[in-house]
Symmetry: C2
Subunit: 319 residues, 2 copies
């Protein structure tokens, strides 16, 4: 009597999890997903929610009367075939996200994640488990949220990617733009924090760890295999207002022989110089097209949810 064919479990119900929950329901019909349901949610704070009502995100704030269950336990016991891992990022050991993903794969589930930690730090392990179990790990949202990024190569089959340059962190790009307009670093950072672009501890953004994680993810995707710890990394703390005014950006550069994140002054003729605010950008140089550019949001509730929806549609088309 149960016509649901594909069940999805969400692990981590913060901004991205709630954004995906709402976007999924608003696009469900137009995407023909009548047989796909989000059947379970597990979150450290909210607990375990089975058969969530579609207006859940309107009611959830402050609510704590769902049972608290260990997410790993919940994943193991779930009958969902897709697990969306949306917990917090951790650049030390990628936990607890890594264990969530590993458990999901080993229990016959495909994994969608927007969490950079496991993909930047432990992709080799994930690939091995994925290969062994035959379940996929998709991670579009780790680079430029729902804006097409590395997956653009699906639209240019045969083209060989030679080099990538990018602005991959919106927070530092926003700070540098504010500095180019006269702010000092501290005021610009405070403004970024007050607008929700920067976290209370801005280290990951400002010191370039977030960009370096994306460099590792891109390098892995394109087969160049630089590890996050191999990425030459310099943050924006030593950038002066004058340098910001003259077009200094926190630039990621990736090729077979290079993986770096560093402030760099860009020429006025360089399209990347004109990427302002929290926008992200990629320049992808290929043998058949020369450089092409993609620019768009790199974060945000709905914007990141779009990435998980893109991955969901890909998994459904493969299976």
């Amino acid at each position: 009597m149960d016509s649901v064919k594909t069940k999805i479990m969400i692990v981590g119900f913060g901004v991205v999890g709630q954004g995906f929950f709402d976007l999924f329901h608003s696009k469900k019909e137009s995407l023909g997903l009548n047989n796909v349901e989000i059947t379970e949610i597990v979150d450290k704070k909210y607990g375990y929610i089975e058969k969530p009502p579609i207006d859940l995100t309107k009611k959830i704030n402050g609510k704590t009367d769902y049972p608290l269950i260990d997410p790993v336990e919940a994943i193991r016991n779930s009958d969902a075939s897709i697990v969306c891992e949306f917990t917090w990022v951790n650049y030390k050991d990628a936990e607890p996200a890594f264990t969530h993903m590993k458990t999901a794969l080993e229990n016959g589930k495909h994994v969608i994640t927007t969490n950079k930690g496991p993909v930047a730090l432990r992709m080799d392990e994930l690939k091995t488990i994925s290969k062994k179990t035959g379940n996929n790990v998709l991670f579009k949202g780790t680079v430029m949220a729902g804006t097409p990024s590395f997956n653009i190569v699906k639209l240019i089959p045969g083209a060989k990617v030679l080099r990538i340059r990018g602005i991959l962190n919106g927070t530092t790009n926003f700070i540098l733009e504010q500095m180019s307009k006269g702010s000092d670093f501290e005021s610009a950072l405070k403004e970024a924090q007050s607008l929700g672009y920067a976290e209370a501890d801005p280290t990951n953004d400002v010191e370039g760890f977030d960009s370096a994680a994306k460099v590792a993810i891109l390098s892995n995707y394109f087969g160049w295999r630089h590890k996050m710890s191999d990425v030459q990394r310099e943050g924006i703390k030593n950038v002066s207002r004058e340098e910001a005014t003259h077009g200094t950006k926190l630039l990621a550069t990736i090729s077979k022989t290079e993986a770096s994140v560093a402030p760099l002054q860009l020429e006025d003729s360089d399209l990347l110089r004109h990427v302002n605010g929290v926008m992200n950008a990629l320049e992808i140089e290929t043998d058949s097209l020369g450089p092409i550019y993609i620019m768009g949001p790199g974060a945000g509730r709905k914007e990141t949810a779009q990435a998980a929806l893109t991955d969901l549609m890909e998994i459904l088309s493969m299976n």
Copy 2:
């Protein structure tokens, strides 16, 4: 004994046809196309070439000893399952390309084209024949050559496209850039002609017909159905050097309610203002991501060939 499963016929062996022939052979192995062959070429000038050698483009110039056969006749008699239509553009009645494509579809062949005429002017007819025959018409190369353009929406399933702005003609964009550096229109046009960016008769580019054709193609693709004759069109002949210096671009704007091509002064904060030279650009505004941007080459031998290769891979994946 014939292990070739998919045969391709090329109609029109000019720059794009030769570019596709060479790109196909250079990417054949990496794309796993061992069972796909270009088996026939028919061209008004060179004649009918069966089983072309892979170094054909090196030998072809000046060669006229192939038999001259009517392309329509050749298409009708061909056992190819895919016809690539690469003849010249004609914004009056889209011939002879339209008849080539119609004949191909009615004879059981899929069609790939980079020719804007039939797609901009007679897409409704093509769709009807395509539906009736069950054969596809793919036309990625009509907008921005091999650079991802309208097909980017495949990477953002569920996202609703609300509005498009674009710089869709490299020739006029090059002329406007030269004018912004001090050239007058006539000198800039001559330079564009000497570099091969503009044709001897530059009307289609300068008067905005080429951009208007692309507006019609995009409008059709996104279901807004503006005809090329509905597009409000103004070329660049009345743009002054001062306007060019202040960021005037030949801007295409397309939404459900608008389809226009006109010179427009763009703000410095507008990414499209910084698209220079012969580069093309699209801003696509969607409900889930806001505006995203794609920029890259919009013409060129290899660049346009990439579009046909992209379409080829799509046809092969569908069938």
